[in-house]
Symmetry: C3
Subunit: 206 residues, 3 copies
């Protein structure tokens, strides 16, 4: 089971890194900038979570495989960005899978460090969306995860399922599977059908 | 006394969250984005302070009331943004009160964790202005707290009063009251009279 | 030896603060904004490193001299920005020296806290470039350290030399000197000859 989790975790890291590298290539950053955005997109959410729960050094620094995988994705995107762009639809699916996995893993880790279910849910969501926020801030644009179709809401749903199972004493691994499926399913349907949350009506400027 | 501090703390949280939500609505973010900006504006300063002094998990995550109050402000702004806009002047006053309270509370907490008065003053200021900085960075604009009328200077004054009282052995609660009044008073006068710090003369571009 | 390190460390802090203050003056921030950008540019890298390795409170807060030196640079730039602008070439050299020193010091500190050589190398690089990233994010622009001539690569080289010496059991201080020289030399040559990393060819937008 633990090996499977690691595989999914690294796969999620790879896909998030692809999203960072693709943005960096479009912004005409050099090879190094591409690597930085790859790593930032892949590990910022987990690092923020680990710093907030006091788990230093963060897992993404303590285990070299995370950054190695992220850099691999960066180099691949740098040299074959045309291929990656054509794979955009599969990448979006992998990204939803990475989001689901990071959200439930983040929630579990926060619960294991003794945080309340409420805080753990928020930290799980942050694990999922933090990378996308860091990636976009580094090129000075408003994070798309704050605007995309139910992106953060899906992460919140997955995290919430895991936290709720913890409160009610249900077994952890099935709850994580259910949470990940719920997150992935909601995000997939939102992409497919263009679901989104309402936007407030803005009053006229005087 | 402690209950009164909590009430003020939550009131400050609410008002800072209003400022984040108002900005998010103007930027046409969806309901979730509005909630994220509400929370970011309300708790980022305190979270940064707690991470820097090693008080993990941060109070804003350990106690669910902070984020609940911030989300309440976000939902209220989302549905009644026209009302909130019309209340801009009272909101600015509440914001000054929140700034004053966060600055003196942040300084006290840093002193209690054994930091030097110099560092505690800076951390108190950061508790006050950190939320505004995070809020503005999330929509990719230069933080207004770096430009507004004596905003950070007022926070620095309030924090400095508390730290000075600590150095000289004066009692803590009266010093906090005096610091908060000094911060609020300076900010209020700066808004009313348009006081601001000088801007450097920029040399001509060659 | 330790005194020499402190002198270099404070000199690096001063020069990084100059870069932050110069940017703030050009962006027409007021005196306080200039001081904030000075401090952010000078100490953000070291603070991020200390938070990630769990060394709280960060050295830049625990020792008042760092922020005092940074503020001194900010005030000097505010009142004599024309002079600082004319000194741009010497400042660029000092900046390269500061980068070299921060990178090797950061790597050493991370190794002393028990991080792996791989993680220590990355943390050393972050100590060097983190200030420049924070400085640019605060005025909402893409960090130039992600684009400048071999800037982060030079920091990575210096950090890597120190980590490699640690792995192979070579003495620490000579390794730090060698790493700093390698970083400074590469950055100097890159500025002088306009060396830079390749940029990816972007596919045509469909």
């Amino acid at each position: 089971m633990s090996f499977l989790l690691l595989v999914f975790d690294l796969l999620g890291t790879f896909v998030f890194a692809l999203s960072g590298a693709t943005l960096a290539v479009r912004q005409r950053l050099d090879l190094f900038g591409v690597l930085v955005l790859s790593c930032a997109a892949a590990v910022s959410g987990g690092i923020a979570r680990d710093v907030l729960i006091g788990a230093q050094p963060p897992a993404a620094l303590a285990d070299w495989r995370y950054l190695a995988v992220a850099m691999l994705a960066g180099v691949a995107t740098f040299y074959w960005s045309a291929v990656i762009e054509r794979l955009r639809n599969p990448v979006q699916l992998f990204d939803a899978a990475g989001l689901a996995l990071f959200a439930v893993l983040g929630t579990s880790k926060a619960l294991a460090f003794g945080l309340s279910p409420f805080a753990a849910t928020l930290l799980g969501m942050m694990s999922g969306i933090g990378g996308g926020i860091a990636r976009d801030l580094l090129v000075a644009r408003t994070p798309v995860v704050l605007q995309a179709e139910l992106y953060a809401v899906a992460a919140l749903l997955g995290s919430g399922v895991v936290a709720l199972a913890h409160v009610t004493g249900l077994p952890q691994y099935p709850a994580m599977a259910a949470g990940a499926l719920a997150c992935f399913g909601l995000r997939y349907m939102a992409i497919r059908h263009g679901w989104h949350l309402p936007v407030a009506r803005v009053p006229e400027e005087p």
